[in-house]
Every structure is written in C-alpha cells, then in structure tokens.
C-alpha cells in the first residue's frame, strides 16, 4: 500500500448526499477478477448519459475542477460493501475523500487502499463546498500526522484510529499485522 503523510491539492465538489457505492461503481462493472481499470468507470452513470455522451453538468466532467481530493455530501459510500468503489476512486486519482459522514464498510475499504476518508462537521463541509465552487483553484491541505485539514481561513482537526494512522503513514496493511499475531490466534483456536 502507498504511504500517505500529507497532501496539498485542489478538490472536486460533489454536493449530493447519500452517495451509494452503486453510483461510485455500478454492478455491471464488477465482473473483473483484478483491481485494475475501475477508475475509468467511477461514477459512470453520472458522468455519462446512456447514449455515451458526456454529462457536462457533473462536477468530474467540469474542467474547472480537478485534483486528488473529493469533497462530498453527507453519508458518502452507503450501500453495498463492494471494495471496487474504493478501487475506482483510487484508480481515478482520489487520495482523500471529505464528507460530514461516511458509511462504515466504505470507510474501512478506503483506508485499506490508502485512500483517506476525512469526516468534518456539516458547517465546515458546507463552507468548503461553497469555497471550491467560488474558486476551483482553492488549495486544500491535509496533514495526516497532525490530523488536520485546512484551506484559506478554514481549518478543522479530524479523527482517525491510531492503528490505521500508523498503517497509512507507513504503507502497512492488516494482513501483515494479523499474520504477526498467529501465535495468539492459534492459542485462541485451541480453546474452541
């Protein structure tokens, strides 16, 4: 897994609330047996009309917006457990997702793929979305070590599990850790 410490980037605003993982990557794209290429189809049915033409009004298609941060409405990533959603966002180039609330499974999937979900207050989110829309060149700073996100005059600290923070900073994943605990797991199994 890629290491993550800090990031300074512009962002793409996606105001919609309750964005479910079926929107992030529709089920018809889940037939692959590897993790590659999902980025091409992220938000497929919002980015393109059914005839294949580009939906110009969707923020990802608006050339004024860009960067590796996605700022999204409340309850991002709800629904299906498909990790393909995290692969699609990472594949497209997003490294940070900002929202006022994340669904549990998506949050874990993102962290397991080096994508940092940052939960901020409703007030901060609203202000940030407005600022990006007013000035798409706005730079946003994310500092994982010190756990804060900031832009012009806005700044907020965010929570992250201490263990997961170490994993992201060092690029470790849970498999390495669990295998290092094999003795304890074997001892537990012996009691069953």
């Amino acid at each position: 897994m890629e290491k993550f410490k800090q990031l300074i980037s512009t962002a793409v605003p996606l105001e919609t609330e309750n964005v479910d993982t079926d929107q992030i990557i529709p089920a018809r794209f889940l037939k692959a047996t590897d993790k590659l290429g999902f980025g091409d189809n992220v938000f497929r049915d919002w980015r393109f009309h059914k005839d294949g033409s580009v939906n110009e009004s969707f923020p990802l298609n608006q050339s004024i917006y860009g960067g590796s941060i996605l700022v999204a409405g409340n309850n991002f990533g709800c629904g299906s457990s498909r990790e393909h959603a995290a692969w699609a966002l990472a594949g497209y180039g997003f490294k940070v997702i900002v929202s006022s609330f994340f669904a549990d499974i998506f949050k874990g999937n993102a962290l397991n793929n080096g994508v940092l979900p940052i939960q901020v207050s409703e007030v901060f989110l609203k202000d940030l979305l407005g600022k990006i829309q007013a000035d798409p060149t706005l730079e946003i700073s994310v500092d994982l070590e010190n756990q804060y996100i900031s832009y012009s005059n806005g700044k907020e600290t965010f929570e992250i599990d201490a263990y997961k923070k170490v994993c992201l900073i060092n690029g470790y994943d849970d498999i390495d850790f669990l295998i290092s605990k094999k003795d304890k797991i074997n001892a537990f199994e012996a009691t069953q």
């Binding site: 889940l30 709800c78 549990d104 537990f188």
Partner: protein, 460 residues
C-alpha cells in the same frame, strides 16, 4: 451491569485487544462468492500466504449467474471467467463450493441458514453487505470488503473496532397484511439511512419473538440499509427448531449441548444500550418506497412527503414522482420477487396465496426467482409452482438476479419495478430503472393488478 446479546457473542470471539486500537476478532464462518473473492485470492497468492482455515469457508455462485438455462455454459465471457476463477480458487484451496447447478446452490444468505451453517452465537462474515441476514439467529454477521476477505483467508480473523450498541423494540400487534418487510422498511423510514452507522442493532419485542425465522432474516437483512453493520435477534425455541436437523447443524447430544449454550445468549435484563428506539406495531402499515434510498418509504396509503432539499428533489426527479403524490393506481410493468431479502419459501407462500385463482395483468413482466435450489424444489413440492403457472407466471432459477442486475435480469430504462429486494438506488436494477421496494404481498398484488393497489383494502 448486564451484557447484551451482541457483547456476549463479540467478547467470546476476541483473540486480542490492541492498545488504543482495534480488536482481533475470530471468525467462525466465512462465506464467499464469485464477485468479491477473486482479488482476495490473488492477494494471498502474490504474497505466498496460504488460506488458514479452508474448512471454515463455504462458497457459492450467485451474484453473477443467469436465472435461465443454468445447465448451459454462461454466455457472458466476463461472468463465465469470474465463475471459473471461483471454481479454480476453491479447488486449489480445498474450499467447499456449491457452484451453479449444485443441489445446494443459491444466494449465499439463503443457503447458509438452510444448510445449517448459520448457528446462534457465531461470528460470520462475507464480502456482501447483506451478511447481516444471519443475525436472525443471534449471530454476529456482517459484510466486509475484499481486503478483509483476504485478511480472513490469511488469519481467520479481522481487525475491528467494537461497534456501539443499538436496540429497536417493536411491540404490539401487526395488522393483517403487514409483513416483516414492512416492519423493517417502516423502521428505516423513521430512523433514516444512516441512523445505524457505527452501531450493531438488536431487534427486540414481541413482534420479532412471534416472527418466523424467514421473517427475522428479512428484517436483519436490511439492517445495513439504515447503516448498521449488522442486526441481531435473540435465539429462542423458533431458532433452535429451525436449526435442528439441518445438514451441517450439530446432531444429538452435541445439539442439546449447543442449545444449552445458546439459551444463555439473550441480552440480560439490566444491560444498557448506547441508543434505543421503541415503535408501536399498530403504527406500521404495508410499506412502499418512492425514492432512491431505502429510507424514502411511506405507508402505501400515504402521500410522498413535501421536503425542500436538493438531494430529495434529485431523487424524486429520477423516479419521476412529485411531492404530495400518492402511488396508488400507478401503472407498473415489472415485478421482481426474489433477492436475499425475500426469496425464501415463506415469501413464495405469501405470494402464491394472493395469486391463487387470479391472472397476472397483461402489461406485467414478473420475475419470480427462488433464493436457492432447495427453495425452488419446495415451491414445486408444495404445489406453489402450479398456482403461479396457472396465474401466468414463470419461475426462474436461483440467484441474486434483478436485485443488482449483474446478469441479464435488468429492468429497462425509465420503467418502474415493484421489487422485494433491498435497494432502490439509482440504476440498481439496470441503467435508468426505477425501483419501488415492497413486501412479497404488495409485489404479488401489483403483478395481478398491473398497478399499485392499496393492499389494506384486500385484507378486509
């Protein structure tokens, strides 16, 4: 202070606690399917890690399988490849697979209970968010991502933060025509789609105590639709009776021993939950959804609420519905009875009881998809198949089908589908398809009438 059902099962499975971090939870049963497992197998193989406990894994093919002509090779190349990968991976790692056509094949959350893999007090996971279904047995069961599938393969454990506890009490008497699906759709409509996030939910009260196992599974199945990782119902005689005698359930003295253990699992009287809600059964009616998340539900006799909100309006625009509108008399061309929410024998009995002696509306295309080969056989054995066929319906073969439309069972763009599945997200049943979630009874009535009807009027 007493312990909750959840605490008791969780605490019995903690291998280790990381200081200021997650806990290592042991997993008793790992269910896998073709869509969310291949990348996990690849991960292990590329790192040279063996599957730790293949004996604790059960595999089925369900998400991406056709529901017609299952004896023929799967036409879609990508789907066929995914199924072949599953077969190959299971053979290589000595994992039990109930593939397409096997007598035990079916939707993962339907077959595990019916084969007796699902038992009270267990921890169960699957790369599928509706794994919460198994909570109906007093099991900690939840959906996981593919990285976690790989973790369980490698260690039979997961690193998790212990969720908070939530209890939803429903007491009173349900009106005629109000089914378990209506109970859970009502709960989600009242509490909201993210009310359960961060929590594990217990459903308590006489309504759940009096419910069949099939009904309890329907309720627990949709826990994730209010954000809860899982939902549980305390095991009781109904549970023990269901598990008894199933192929992989303990037998004889071992079963009695287990029952004695399972009887200690229900939440202690003095246990305290982080959050608790109470609902009167009398307030619940037959439900229907009008929007693009499962929380956007109303009683079938009610009108769409008038809420000024961008996301709400976007949702109504997608559905082509208006604020303040009633859905009664809306013409419907598609009906789907199936999915891990409502494809068990009880669901087909309910649909058949309504359909008996009537004819399907000409405008309706109805897909009736049993949850498993065993359910399909039982439908035939109980004479329900004849009832459906006489009414003009055809039964398809088991699988997830139009619930997520990965296979060819897709609802055309712009069409409405009254569906017994669990998600009405945009495009869930096909690009541009409009899903209306309901119980098997409402779905059956819609198929007969060709439009949405006030089912409460048929009940009197």
């Amino acid at each position: 202070m007493g312990k909750t059902l959840f605490d008791k099962v969780w605490d019995a499975h903690v291998v280790d606690v990381i200081e200021n971090g997650p806990q290592i939870l042991y997993i008793d049963k790992h269910l896998i399917h073709e869509v969310t497992s291949p990348q996990a197998f690849n991960e292990l193989e590329s790192r040279g890690i063996p599957v730790a406990r293949p004996d604790k894994i059960v595999a089925t093919a369900d998400h991406n399988t056709p529901t017609l002509n299952q004896h023929l090779p799967v036409k879609d190349e990508l789907s066929r490849n995914q199924l072949e990968q599953l077969t190959k991976n299971c053979a290589k790692n000595k994992i039990t697979l109930y593939g397409l056509g096997h007598e035990n094949n079916g939707i993962v959350h339907v077959i595990a209970p019916e084969l007796g893999f699902t038992q009270p007090g267990m921890t169960m996971v699957c790369g599928d968010s509706h794994t919460s279904t198994h909570g109906a047995f007093g099991t900690i069961a939840f959906g996981i991502g593919t990285s976690q599938v790989a973790q369980v393969f490698a260690s039979q454990c997961l690193l998790l933060e212990k969720p908070k506890s939530l209890r939803v009490n429903v007491n009173g008497k349900l009106a005629k025509g109000v089914l378990p699906k209506d109970v859970i759709l009502y709960i989600i409509s009242k509490l909201g789609t993210n009310s359960g996030t961060g929590y594990f939910c217990e459903y308590a009260g006489n309504v759940f105590e009096e419910m069949s196992m099939e009904g309890r599974m329907t309720v627990c199945n949709m826990s994730i639709e209010m954000g809860a990782r899982g939902g549980m119902i305390a095991p009781d005689e109904t549970t023990f009776e269901y598990v008894k005698g199933r192929e992989f359930a303990p037998k004889g003295a071992a079963f009695d021993q287990k029952v004695a253990e399972w009887k200690t699992l229900p939440t202690d009287a003095d246990a305290v939950f982080d959050q608790e809600y109470s609902i009167n059964a009398e307030d619940i009616g037959p439900m229907i959804t009008y929007g693009t998340n499962p929380g956007m539900g109303i009683k079938i006799s009610e009108k769409i609420p008038e809420i000024a909100d961008v996301s709400f309006e976007k949702s109504l625009a997608y559905m082509n519905f208006n604020k303040g509108e009633s859905l009664i008399h809306k013409a419907i061309n598609y009906v789907f009875i199936g999915s891990c929410t409502n494809s068990r024998i009880e669901d087909f009995r309910i649909a058949a009881a309504f359909v008996k002696g009537k004819k399907k509306a000409h405008n309706v295309i109805a897909w009736l998809v049993p949850g498993s080969q065993k359910v399909a056989k039982q439908i035939e054995a109980e004479g329900l198949k004849t009832i459906f066929e006489t009414a003009g319906f055809t039964l398809r073969q088991p699988g997830c089908s139009a619930c997520l439309a990965m296979n060819d069972d897709k609802i055309p763009e712009g069409e409405y589908c009254v569906s017994t599945s669990n998600r009405n997200f945009e495009g869930r049943q096909g690009q541009g398809a409009r899903t209306i979630l309901a119980s098997p009874l409402v779905a059956a009535a819609t198929a007969i009438e060709g439009r949405i009807v006030d089912i409460t009027k048929y009940m009197n």
